[in-house]
Amino acid sequence: MNKRIYLDYSATTPMKQEVLEEMLPYFTERFGNPSSIHSFGREAKQAIDQARSRLAKAIGAKQDEIYFTGGGSEADNWAIKGVAYANRDKGNHIITTKIEHHAVLHTCEYLEKDGFEVTYLDVDEYGMISLEQLRNAITDRTILITLMFANNEIGTIQPIGEIGAIAREKGIYFHTDAVQALGNVKIDVNALNIDLMSMSAHKIYGPKGVGGLYIRKGVKIHSLIHGGAQERRRRAGTENLPGIVGFGKAAELAIENLDGHIRHVKDLRDRLIKGIMDKVDYVRFNGHPENRLPGNAHFAFEFIEGESLLLSLDMLGIAGSSGSACTSGSLDPSHVLMAIGLPHEIAHGSLRLTIGDFTTAEEIDYVINELPKIVDRLRQMSPLYEKVKGGQK
């Protein structure tokens, strides 16, 4: 395979060189444990503080409202279980949606087995929730609304400000999974009335295995990982020092360059969408036409199946995804595509191509050229296509 084209930036991103450089000294030289009081420990502590302040600045938070975790999934689990168990005396009802990431959905399901009640809001064909349905779902037992900022599959961005305002008005904690939104949308936790927010470094050109949870001062929450006094006693474990340094740098870069990044990926994304929609029949474009992640393109090609499409693309060095990377081990069609009402057989033909800072116009043009041929080849093999075409060859 000579050329490789990565169009799976929503699954994970390569780390930027600047991020790696910032991290490097912390592996072998400035390697101290931030809890130690000697010089090795103090320089480690300073590095963590700087990263914390960079991340805080990126989302308009105070430094002591940022907690580092081992990833976005841990942040989701912590936020939801932590708030649920700490506020059980006030109620046992949680509101979420049908299109959340599994880190939210499976956590909610776990809580259901432990006596909590969960309302899963519907979404429309574009993946948007209804504010009215949200309002109606609230009861006096509702303790938490957990609702994702932007969807990882179809890219739809929810009206987070309005949701935050409703939660604030009703005095209910509002958690949002912003793993896909960070670095792609301007976020101000105060303007949006967000109480807790999950983040993950590896989606913004930072390292894997590091995440963050924003917890507004005053929020009642239990710990998920008990032990040492790290993270203001709320999240135990020796800090992932180089990882946290890398996350801080990645967040700083993302915010400095937000407009440029959005413009770059959106231009290429629109070029890709136009190229494909012009050249291929029987294809749907999924997600919201405007309120969507700038780098997300999501198609469903009728009569063919996503995995064979991915494999064919992969043979040409093109890396895409058929839904969330987490679910590609599963054979069921994605719960998100079911929730937007896509028929099963069409959902199976879905392809997510997500564009990032390193994507070039040449790469996009190559995909526009090759993808229609692949779709065509697979359709020629498909008994479903045969029926539509009435047997013509």
Binding site: E305, E307, S308, L311, S330, L331, H344, E345, M381, P383
Partner: protein, 147 residues
Amino acid sequence: MYSEKVMDHFMNPRNVGEIENADGIGEVGNAKCGDIMKMYLKIENDVIVDVKFKTFGCGSAIATSSIATEMIKGKTIQEALKLTNQAVVEALDGLPPQKIHCSVLAEQAVKSALLDYAKKHHITLDELNDFHPDEDHHEHGEEYEEA
């Protein structure tokens, strides 16, 4: 994840297409589950002289259909009836656990085409007495315990 054999049969599938006036046609799976296999047979003097397939499905579904056609082409009906999904898996140098059911689908596609042939020609194939192609073939491999 896939062997070279699987990728070869996926990228260069043998015997894709349809046979006009086929002697037997079998179709298994359903679009809802993301897989349909359709198999066409031309049979002369109890020998499968030609076979073609069309498949809507994943890479391994396409590869198993392709190799299954190769494995029965030129064979007698009796020989083709002995085709098992294990044989298909072995011929492909293995499949990931969650893809074993694609090979089951291939076996069933062959059998339903033969059943169709038998019905059309009013013969009985005892081997197919217990064969019910509509059975749920979706056995999605290993399940892990999860909390």
